[in-house]
């Protein structure tokens, strides 16, 4: 179909309110679009980028942000083996059953445990982090206006030093893509701050791409599976449709010969 046919359809869909609400509270300009392997109706996550992104999450994001709706076992979705999952979980102690004297205890984490949050609750997080709790990242890539493009633009959008005309606010950092350009979160990524085991150079841009991919996966973990099942279902339905149309024609032809 030529693109001009889509436009009235898209307009109608928007008029009918089928479009996401996300567009409504977007900042004044849309973040520049990046090419992502997972976008589009058939997109698939890049598994090695997901695994690199998880490294960034573990070393950087998870020190302030939770991802409490995921369990360690869910990480099988980025290609971690059962053994890697068990080892990752083991290093995260969880509160255990009280001991014989009623004292609280800790036990090693298990694959079924949810990912540890860095703070016991949002109030504690807000108190520690200058008044605003760092948002949980389980669905962040889905719920934040602009989605993955915004995440990438934001993570690569810090300006040090800030522009000359920007106000100086203690404890706030200048970012092109933060609301009001000022944000309490310090620049999280630096060139070479981590080493990727696969040898990919850990530039800020590369880390931003990888963590964005990981966050999108966390917000929609079954996308690969959904797209591949969808292709099989559609192929099946096309064959079924052809057979059904042939059957229907054969039946209805009887009426014409009557």
């Amino acid at each position: 179909m030529p693109p001009h046919i889509y436009r009235p359809v898209a307009g109608l869909l928007i008029a009918l309110g089928l479009s996401g609400a996300a567009l409504a509270n977007e900042p004044d300009k849309a973040p520049p679009h990046q090419a992502w392997s997972f976008e589009g109706p058939l997109g698939q996550y890049d598994q090695s980028s997901l695994q690199r992104g998880f490294i960034v999450f573990q070393h950087v994001c998870s020190t302030c942000h939770g991802m409490r709706n995921l369990t360690y076992a869910d990480l099988a979705g980025i290609g971690l083996t059962q053994q890697q999952i068990a080892e990752t979980a083991k290093t995260k102690p969880q509160p255990g059953a009280p001991d014989a004297t009623g004292q609280p205890t800790m036990r090693p984490g298990l694959p079924d445990d949810h990912l540890n949050s860095p703070f016991p609750n949002d109030a504690a997080a807000a108190a520690m982090m200058g008044g605003i709790a760092p948002p949980d990242q389980s669905r962040l890539a889905m719920t934040h206006p602009g989605g993955p493009d915004w995440l990438y633009a934001f993570l690569t959008g810090y300006r040090m030093p800030p522009p000359a005309d920007a106000p100086v606010v203690p404890g706030k950092f200048y970012n092109d893509w933060a609301a009001g350009h000022m944000i309490g979160m310090p620049p999280p990524l630096m060139n070479g701050m981590i080493q990727y085991p696969d040898g990919t150079p850990a530039t800020v841009e590369q880390q931003a791409r990888d963590i964005t991919t990981f966050l999108v996966w966390a917000s929609d973990p079954h996308r690969n599976e959904r797209h591949s099942i969808g292709k099989a279902v559609m192929a099946y339905l096309i064959v079924l449709l052809a057979l059904a149309i042939a059957w229907k024609r054969k039946i209805w032809k009887r009426l014409k010969t009557q």
Partner: protein, 411 residues
Amino acid sequence: MTQPDPVTRPNTPAMTGLAGWVEARLPVISAFRAEYIDFRLPRNLNGLWNFGAILTVVLMLMLATGIFLAMNYTSTNAGAFLSVEAIDRQLAGGWLLRAMHMTGANLFLAALYVHLFRGLYYGSYKAPRELLWLSGLVLLLLVMATAFAGYMLPWGQMSYWGADVITKAVGAVPGIGPDLEHIMAGGDHLGDVFLHHFFVLHFLLAFAIVAVVGLHVTLVHVNGSNNPLGIEPRTPKDTVPFYPYYISKDLVGLILFAMVFAALMFFWPNVLIEADNYTPADPMHTPADIEPEWYFLPFYGLLQSVPSKFGGLLASAASLLILFALPWLDRSPVRSMRFRPLCRIGLFGLVAAFILLAAAGKHHAQGGWLIVARLAGIYYFSYFVVLLPLVSRREKTRPLPSSIFAAEGKR
């Protein structure tokens, strides 16, 4: 009308064995044969007549997926959001169950609107099908209530603030409003009691729908289907048996519908998903943009186009209730809009008004949309109370064909 089709149905052999034993005690086999094999339908039904079968199948899908979702759902303030997350993430195949249920809810309403439009366009509400029409409207109300209750259950921001808007709207009813609001909210705050009530209601209403569908289908089988010409079949030549004619046609319609369903569910889920509802309900933080699901937008537009809150509530309720009076508002003896040039234009205007109300609802009836919503709202009601009763009597209708078979020969 009950004469067997000479082409497909030779003599029925006498039933023997278990079938004969059951048949002698409860004639279900002959009843099934009469209603779903030999049952005669007008031979000229078009694609819009597929939607009854489509709705039945989607209803069964909703029940099947809903039961398994309910088994894994927790109806508490603290647990609801997390249990839905666990279904989506940790339950094996849970994401697929939930995707089917959500897509199904949206497409159920979409198919229902098409089905309703077909009834309006071909005059399916007229004698002798008034009860069929009324039972269908009861279904529409039940489905809307079920969809609303179901949308509360994930307990995200849109669930919570949708509940807030609706309970407060109910509170605007003069006199008993505050008490009604208290009963609906289950207390002073929306929480455990509210969720538990709506979980039970969602489940209960689903089965109420099944019961009314039974009545609705019975009424179709007693009165027979209307058809695009709106004239009753006169001879067996005007009709064909359900099997194999409409089985094969319904199958094609169902597969096409399944393809739209699958495409939305597997490839474009964001068309139907409200991302804001993936943020847990937070009474301390009002979202910037509270809006209902698309299928409620026309009524939301109407609600907001009236300056008084109670007035808006009345207008929305009236827009649905007026449909119940339709068989008695439209006095024209001609059913199908194909032969009613004036009312036909009027009906397309009604569809346009419905869509404009939805668009206005989407924009919270602000600025120019307020005027659009008011004009569309006025037109919506005038179609029923002015156009149909007055114009339909004077309208010069086009001549009706002598029979369905004759009309087909002419083409």
